[in-house]
């Protein structure tokens, strides 16, 4: 019985595949866009496809890419985390300040706990105190940055320990450690969101909060946990940047939240929640990283990069909206 059913489903899906190239295109448009971007890049920049350049791209992507995974969890539930830049800067400053004075595992642990706690504060503001996510995290982001500035007196902390720099600039085989870390976060994030009941609950929650609450899901806990994850990811990125630069500074996170959100949004995760996926965010991040790589290689001014990036974000959201209205009618 069930195999027959499966075959039937398969058949209808297959028919759909050929009949509805259009809706497929709408659903996987971001992949097509990515392929186009890569193709154009390979033409415009002959060295683009060299392994060294590709590793360089991922290495550049690592900081934003790791944070974009946490952000995806938040945005699937319909939230938004503007404070990642603040947490990122705070964690980078903190770890640079004490990495020399204690064993590294302890320093890492403390920093990760700070990031997690900062995220949970966001979660509490959003759930218990019902502050709209945008406002709550905009506020806490400013607070976190401010704390980092006060703590460091706006001066960078330098790390002497050489072992500390391994994470940010070391290599395993020929592959940078940061790229390993990025892939690890990608894989874990993808598995958790796609294959656990926790992940399913987040989709349900983002799709319909009231129905989820009435279904007995612990809505407030789930929402808080996503902000916690986002804070944790920001802490990882903060450690990574401090390790890469050998220093921690409070003013590094000012605009990074926008890049993180851009990666998620370009991938096609809905701003209104309930829809999206980690693979989308990965593709979105890769598009941004590839463009930035090519622009750099063409010596395009960063000001123009900013203009292009803005246009791409708007275009992605417009496309997403268009695809949504098309596929839903």
């Amino acid at each position: 019985m069930s195999t027959l059913g499966n075959q039937l489903n398969l058949n209808t899906e297959r028919q759909g595949l050929f009949k509805n190239m259009n809706s497929l295109m709408l659903r996987y448009g971001v992949v097509v866009a990515f392929i186009v971007v890569v193709g154009l890049s390979a033409i415009l920049y002959p060295g683009f496809l060299r392994p060294a350049n590709l590793l360089n791209i991922f290495s550049q992507l690592a900081i934003v890419g790791i944070m974009s995974i946490g952000m995806t969890f938040v945005m699937i539930t319909g939230g938004l985390d503007m404070s990642v830049g603040g947490i990122y800067a705070l964690c980078a400053t903190l770890i640079a300040s004490y990495a020399d004075s204690m064993p590294l595992p302890v320093a890492f642990a403390i920093t990760l706990v700070v990031g997690l706690a900062a995220g949970l504060i966001n979660g509490m503001l959003v759930t218990r105190l019902r502050v709209p996510p945008f406002v709550a995290t905009l506020g806490t982001g400013s607070v976190f940055t401010g704390i980092a500035l006060i703590y460091s007196n706006a001066q960078p902390f330098f790390v002497q320990k050489e072992s500390f720099q391994w994470m940010g600039s070391g290599e395993l085989g020929a592959i940078p450690v940061a790229v390993f870390l990025l892939f690890l976060v990608y894989v874990v994030g993808a598995i958790v969101l796609a294959f656990t009941t926790y992940g399913r609950s987040l989709y349900a929650l983002g799709g319909n909060k009231e129905a989820s609450r009435l279904s007995g899901l612990r809505v407030n806990w789930l929402i808080s946990s996503t902000y916690g994850l986002s804070g944790l990811c920001a802490a990882v990125s903060g450690i990574l940047i401090a390790s890469r630069l050998g220093q921690g500074q409070a003013n590094i996170g000012e605009t990074i939240a926008l890049d993180v959100i851009a990666a998620v949004v370009i991938g096609g995760t809905s701003l209104s929640g309930g829809e999206g996926a980690i693979w989308r965010t990965i593709v979105g991040g890769c598009i941004l990283a590839v463009l930035s790589n090519v622009f750099d290689s063409l010596s395009l001014s960063p000001y123009w990069q900013s203009v292009f990036k803005g246009c791409i974000i708007i275009g992605a959201v417009m496309f997403d909206y268009y695809a949504r209205t098309k596929t839903q009618t």
Binding site: S2, G5, N9, F195, T196, T197, Y198, G199, R200, S201, Y203, A204, G207, N208, E210, A211, S212, R213, L214, S215, G216, L217, R218, G274, E275, Q328
Partner: protein, 512 residues
């Protein structure tokens, strides 16, 4: 064209106020109206009767100019309507009063009547002219409402009078009333019915839509029955009895079916099963007060009462959705903590299928499978991972049981209301509850599916569940319930437990 031909062919005895011919309205492949012909004589009170989804609202929408028909024609006092243009409908003399009032509470009675159409003299607002006209309207309706009173301080009934005056203000010849008595108490109903008669005497043609068949019989000169977008019959008042109205409204087959469900379902001779749930002193400040309810295995308990009587609040309190509620709760004889959050009563075996499927019941962007499983993730979880195969198996079994006619991977957004309701029931039953509460389980779904849903509920009860049902369609409550508790203004006013007692009349009498 065809409209004209029909009008000429019909032997015109009296002047027609409205001639509707071959009216069709399709939404995609669905025909909300399918070739409807109705002639309404000038000066009569003509009632439209039908189930939800029969096409009444669509018809009213076309007459009032809110919707444009797909085919066919409507003539008002002989001239053709400009379809889909509310202003044109008003110009031809059609005034529509909807169920939901559109009174501006901060304005005076007078200002509300002339809202958006102030009378003026040479460009200046003329209070004198408006007051004069206001008094004329009051006289026409046989009411006396001070023009300076603040509308927000007036009773619902008086606000409704204002609404009607606003409709008549522009010399309307035809007044459409959609469920005008739904939120009125009996004395107010009586006076509204009197007002309608007065208006008729004043030469106004009235189209009356109501679920209250007694009112329809009391008021109408003729009655048209709509069912599934078709006109079933139009007959003068003398032809109709309540039974005739019900059976032609439901269709002979369905009427039989409902009777059959009724007969096979209510076996009060059988001793009730063991007590599953007892709640006493259930109070939600400002909504319900000191209500007691006991549920036994195998019985269906209906909750009767109007919208706003506190019936939904009562079941929400039992399901832990009213944080301010107080009361005492026993499950299978053991006292348990009073629920104030939704997860806890679920663990006690109380499941609620909420009234608003789309906003409270289902996640429309997810598949049936995910919706069914989201209520009980713990049984499809292994080390935190979602066991897709097992979840699919569970969803498949439940959706078959509840007669879902689409595959389980379909997004709920793409299901009909009936199928959505089945998914919702499958979902809450995935908790394997002892007590199932269903709020408006048949709202907005086809009559055939309604009967199916009622049958499923009966089956579940026969297997040992206790079921609580709330429905605005009292006939359904009566059809399946072993007992009916009647609520009014937040209090339990009557319990009807004998078969002979359970009837629409008894419920309504107890309500007031």
């Amino acid at each position: 064209m065809s409209g004209g031909a029909v009008a000429e062919a019909a032997p015109v005895k009296k002047e027609m106020a409205i001639e509707i011919s071959e009216l069709i309205k399709s939404y995609g492949g669905f025909r909300a109206l399918n070739g409807v012909n109705i002639d309404i004589q000038r000066g009569e009170i003509h009632s439209l009767v039908g189930q939800n989804g029969a096409g009444k609202s669509t018809l009213l929408g076309i007459l009032s100019g809110r919707t444009a028909p797909s085919e066919g024609s409507v003539r008002i006092f002989g001239s053709e309507l400009h379809y889909g243009d509310p202003r044109s409908s008003r110009k031809l003399g059609v005034a529509t009063i909807y169920q939901e009032l559109t009174i501006a509470p901060n304005l005076s009675a007078l200002e509300n009547v002339f809202l958006g159409q102030l009378l003026s003299v040479k460009g200046f607002i003329s209070r004198k002219r408006m007051t004069k006209r206001y008094m004329e309207l009051c006289a026409l309706m046989g009411v006396n409402i001070s023009p300076l009173q603040r509308a927000g301080n007036m009773s619902i009934a008086d606000q409704q009078m204002l609404e009607i005056m606003r409709g008549l203000q522009l010399d309307a010849g035809i007044l459409i009333l959609d469920e005008p008595t739904a939120s009125l108490a009996p004395p107010e109903r009586k006076s509204l019915l009197k007002t309608i008669k007065t208006l008729q005497a004043g030469g106004i043609t009235i189209i009356y839509v109501s679920h209250h068949l007694d009112e329809v019989l009391e008021l109408s000169d003729s009655v048209t029955i709509l069912r599934n977008g078709e006109k079933i019959v139009t007959q003068p008042r003398a032809y109709w009895t309540k039974d005739k109205l019900v059976s032609s409204m439901l269709g002979a087959e369905v009427a039989e079916e409902i009777v059959r469900v009724t007969q096979e379902t209510r076996h009060e001779d059988a001793a009730p099963g063991p007590e599953l749930l007892r709640a006493t002193g259930v109070t939600v400040p400002g909504a319900i007060e000191d209500i007691a309810i006991t549920l036994h295995a195998g019985e269906i308990v209906g909750i009767g009462g109007l919208v706003g009587s506190g019936r939904t609040t009562l079941v929400r309190a039992l399901a832990g959705l009213e944080p301010k509620s107080t009361g005492s709760l026993w499950i299978e004889g053991k006292q348990v903590k009073w629920p104030r959050e939704p997860g806890y009563p679920m663990s006690l075996g109380i499941a609620l299928a909420p009234e608003d499927r789309k906003h409270q019941g289902l996640v429309l962007g997810m598949s049936c499978e995910d919706n069914i499983n989201m209520v009980n993730f713990s049984q499809v979880k292994k080390l935190g991972f979602y066991r897709k195969a097992k979840a699919g198996h569970i969803a498949d079994g439940l959706s078959k049981r509840f007669g879902l006619t689409r595959p389980i991977h379909t997004l709920c957004r793409n299901l009909s209301g009936g199928n959505q309701q089945k998914v919702l029931l499958a979902k809450v039953c995935n908790l394997r509850p002892k007590v199932l509460i269903v709020d408006e389980p048949t709202r907005g779904i086809d009559i055939g599916v309604k009967v199916e849903v009622l049958k499923i509920l009966r089956q579940l009860a026969n297997e040992g569940m206790a079921i609580v049902i709330i429905s605005s369609e009292l006939e359904e409550v009566i059809a399946v319930s072993n007992r009916v508790l009647v609520l009014s203004k937040g209090r339990l006013v009557k319990e009807l437990s004998q078969r002979s007692e359970i009837s629409v009349d008894h419920i309504l009498q107890a309500t007031f």
